[in-house]
C-alpha cells in the first residue's frame, strides 16, 4: 500500500458534559451552567478516526476546527495534544443563535478558506442538539460526497472507504476524495494526550478567525441566518410511576397483577 500525504479536517463542537448535566426538577430543563464543557463524544471518535489514518500515513496533516465561544479553545487544544497539527477557532458574536443551516455554512466557509483537503471528519451528531444535520450540510455546501453514520473508515489506493451502520445492515462505500465522513459515537476508543503533548499543544496554540476572515455576510450567519425558530418549550409531563414493591416470594401475586391489569397477556392472543 502506498502511503499518502493527506489533508484532513475534523469539525468538532464543545458541549456540556451529558453525564454531568442536571435536569431542573421544576422546569425540567437542562441546567447547563452546572456542567463541565467537553468535546462532543462523537467528535472525539471523529478525531481518533483521523489520527488513525495519520498513524498509517504519517505525512498526513490534520486541522481541527470549531465554531463556538472563545472558551472552546480548550477543546481544540485537547485535540492538538492528541496529535492534531492545527486548531482553528471560528468565533464571532454574529454566530450566536445559529441553527443547523448557518452553522454548516460557517464551517463550510472556514474550510473553503483553509483550502485544500481530502477528507472532512465530523461526529454523527452532537449530544446537545442531536440533529446530525451539520456534517452532511457542510458536504452539500462544498458539493462533495459523504458517508454518514460510519463505524470505520480507511484509505486504500487513493480511495476512501467507510462502513456505514444502517438500521438494516452494514454498508461499505468507496469514494473519491474529497469527501466527508460522519463518525458514530463509541466507534473507537479515543487516545489520551500525554502531559508532554499537552504542554506542546499549549506552546503551539490555536488560530482564531472571525466572520471577517471567512467572508460571509453578517445577516447570513447566527440567528439572522437561521430559517428555523424555537417557538416554545414545554416540559414533557411524565407518567406518574407508583413503584409498587414485590418480594421474590410474591411472584405469583406479581404475575396475577400484570395479567389482571392487561399489562401482560399470556398466550391465546
Amino acid at each position: 500500500m502506498i502511503e499518502m500525504a493527506l489533508e484532513i479536517i475534523v469539525m468538532i463542537k464543545q458541549v456540556p458534559d451529558s453525564s454531568e448535566v442536571v435536569i431542573d426538577p421544576v422546569t425540567f430543563t437542562l441546567n447547563r451552567g452546572a456542567a463541565r464543557n467537553v468535546i462532543n463524544p462523537a467528535d472525539e471518535n471523529a478525531v481518533e478516526q483521523a489520527l488513525r489514518i495519520k498513524d498509517k500515513n504519517p505525512d498526513t496533516h490534520i486541522t481541527v476546527i470549531t465554531m463556538g465561544p472563545p472558551f472552546a479553545e480548550s477543546a481544540l487544544l485537547d485535540c492538538m495534544a492528541r496529535g492534531v497539527d492545527r486548531g482553528i477557532l471560528v468565533t464571532d458574536r454574529a454566530f450566536a443563535g445559529a441553527d443547523t443551516y448557518p452553522t454548516g455554512l460557517t464551517l463550510a466557509a472556514t474550510i473553503t478558506k483553509i483550502g485544500k483537503f481530502d477528507i472532512i471528519f465530523a461526529g454523527e451528531e452532537s449530544t446537545d442538539s442531536s440533529t446530525g444535520h451539520v456534517g452532511p450540510g457542510v458536504a452539500e455546501f462544498l458539493g462533495i460526497e459523504q458517508a454518514s453514520y460510519t463505524s470505520n473508515s480507511w484509505v486504500e489506493d487513493g480511495k476512501v472507504y467507510a462502513e456505514r451502520q444502517l438500521e438494516d445492515g452494514v454498508e461499505t462505500v468507496r469514494m473519491e476524495p474529497p469527501c466527508l465522513i460522519t463518525v458514530l459515537t463509541n466507534s473507537n476508543i479515543p487516545r489520551n494526550a500525554t502531559l508532554r503533548m499537552k504542554i506542546d499543544a499549549m506552546k503551539r496554540g490555536i488560530e482564531t478567525w472571525t466572520l471577517n476572515d471567512i467572508g460571509l455576510k453578517p445577516e447570513w450567519v447566527g440567528l439572522k441566518g437561521s430559517p428555523t425558530i424555537v417557538k416554545s418549550m414545554k416540559s414533557i409531563q411524565e407518567k406518574k410511576r407508583e413503584g409498587k414493591k414485590f418480594t421474590p416470594d410474591q411472584m405469583d401475586d406479581f404475575v396475577n397483577e400484570l395479567v389482571s391489569k392487561g399489562i401482560l397477556k399470556l398466550g391465546g392472543e
Partner: protein, 366 residues
C-alpha cells in the same frame, strides 16, 4: 450543489402547496418509517385542503407506488432506474430537489432514519430552507399553513416547537416508531405516475462495494422487552434474560456497558446511543438506570425494575420494583408465569368445554 450561499425564503411562499413525503425502501419494499408518515402527512394536508404526495425511488417501483397509494397517499410519484436501486446521497438528493422545484411542496417529511437524515440534511441546504430533526409531533397551523414541528430535547425532558415561517418547503424528519402505520385499503383512490430517471455519471461516484444485511432486532416495535444490565455480572447472564423473554414473547434489550463489554450485540442496546423503545412492558434486570439508558426507555408504558440496589436510579421511574438478586427473582418469575399460563389454559378449556356442552344441550333441545 449549494455553494456558499445563505438560506433564502421564496418571494411567494403561497405558491408552495401540499405535503410531500419521501418513502424509504430496500429491495423494492417500502420501509415502515416511511409508511408511518402517511397518516400524519395526510391529516396535515387534508386539514388545509391540500393533498399528500408520496415519493418513491428504486430499481422497479410499480409495486411500491401501488402500496403507497393504498396506504393513503393522494398522489404517488415513482422514479425508477437501476442506479436508484440502493440509497445513495447525491442521486437521491438531486432527484428529490428537482421534484421540490417542480411541485413546490409546502411541507416535506422524511423519516429520521440514518439514510433519511443523510438525505434531509442535504435537501435542506440545497433548498435553502430549515429542517427540524427527529419530530415526535407534527401539525399544521391553518393560519399561514405553518408546520408545527415538535421534537423532544434536553434528554427527552422538554418538547420544543420549531417553526420555519418564511422558507419553503418546511422540512421535518419524523422519528421512527412514533406515528402509526395506517390500514392499507386496496380500493383507495389515488393518482400515480412512474417516471424513468436518468442519473448523471458524475452523481454516481460513491460506490456501494458491500452490504451485509443485519438480522435486526427491531426493539422499537417490540410489545415487551426484557433488558439486562451490568447487574448480570457475566455474559452468560443473558441466557436467563433470554429465557424470561421467550416465556412471554419479549425481545431482549441491553444497557450500553453490557454491549461495550461484548456480552451481547449492539443491536440490542437501548438508550441514547442505542434504540429508543416504548413497549407495553419493559423489564429492567440489573440495570442501574443511567440518564443515557433512561432516555431510551422511559416512554415505556409499564416499567419493572429487578435490582439489588434499592436506590437504583431506574426505580424512580418504575411501576413495579423487585428489590432482590435477579438470579433469584427471574427463575421464580418464570415459574409463576408458567403456572399462570397453565391456569389460563385450564380456564379456557373449561370455558370452551362449557360452550360445547351448551351447544350440545341446545342441539338436543331441538
Amino acid at each position: 450543489m449549494a455553494g456558499l450561499i445563505n438560506a433564502e425564503p421564496p418571494a411567494n411562499p403561497d405558491e408552495y402547496r401540499n405535503v410531500m413525503i419521501f418513502l424509504e425502501s430496500r429491495n423494492g419494499e417500502l420501509k415502515k418509517p416511511g409508511l408511518e408518515m402517511i397518516s400524519v402527512g395526510s391529516a396535515m394536508a387534508h386539514k388545509v385542503n391540500e393533498i399528500l404526495i408520496g415519493i418513491v425511488f428504486g430499481d422497479k417501483v410499480g409495486d411500491m407506488v401501488k402500496q403507497a397509494g393504498e396506504y393513503g397517499c393522494d398522489r404517488v410519484i415513482g422514479y425508477e432506474s437501476p442506479d436508484l436501486k440502493d440509497f445513495r446521497t447525491i442521486p437521491y438528493a438531486t432527484l428529490l430537489s428537482d421534484l421540490i422545484g417542480e411541485l413546490k411542496p409546502n411541507i416535506l417529511l422524511i423519516p429520521a432514519t440514518r439514510n433519511g437524515r443523510d438525505l434531509a440534511s442535504r435537501i435542506a441546504v440545497r433548498s435553502r430552507t430549515g429542517v427540524t430533526a427527529d419530530c415526535t409531533e407534527l401539525d399544521v397551523d391553518p393560519n399561514g399553513r405553518i408546520l408545527q414541528a415538535r421534537r423532544p430535547t434536553y434528554g427527552e425532558s422538554t418538547l420544543a416547537e420549531i417553526l420555519c415561517k418564511r422558507h419553503r418547503p418546511q422540512m421535518a424528519t419524523a422519528r421512527p416508531g412514533i406515528f402509526a402505520v395506517p390500514e392499507r385499503n386496496p380500493n383507495a383512490k389515488y393518482e400515480s405516475e412512474i417516471r424513468k430517471a436518468k442519473i448523471k455519471k458524475e452523481y454516481l461516484r460513491k460506490e456501494i462495494v458491500d452490504f451485509k444485511p443485519k438480522t435486526t432486532v427491531d426493539l422499537t416495535s417490540a410489545r415487551y422487552i426484557v433488558s439486562g444490565g451490568l447487574g448480570l455480572g457475566k455474559a452468560s447472564g443473558f441466557k436467563l434474560i433470554q429465557e424470561l423473554a421467550d416465556e412471554i414473547g419479549a425481545y431482549v434489550g441491553a444497557s450500553r456497558p453490557t454491549v461495550d463489554l461484548g456480552w451481547i450485540g449492539r443491536d440490542h442496546q437501548v438508550g441514547q446511543t442505542g434504540q429508543s423503545v416504548r413497549p407495553e412492558l419493559y423489564i429492567a434486570c440489573g440495570i442501574s438506570g443511567k440518564a443515557q439508558h433512561l432516555m431510551g426507555m422511559k416512554l415505556s408504558q409499564n416499567i419493572v425494575s429487578i435490582n439489588t440496589d434499592p436506590d437504583a436510579e431506574i426505580n424512580g421511574i418504575s411501576d413495579y420494583i423487585i428489590n432482590a438478586d435477579l438470579y433469584e427473582v427471574i427463575p421464580k418469575l418464570i415459574e409463576a408465569i408458567r403456572k399462570k399460563k397453565a391456569e389460563l389454559k385450564k380456564e379456557a378449556k373449561s370455558e370452551s368445554d362449557g360452550k360445547k356442552k351448551e351447544v350440545k344441550e341446545k342441539a338436543t333441545e331441538k
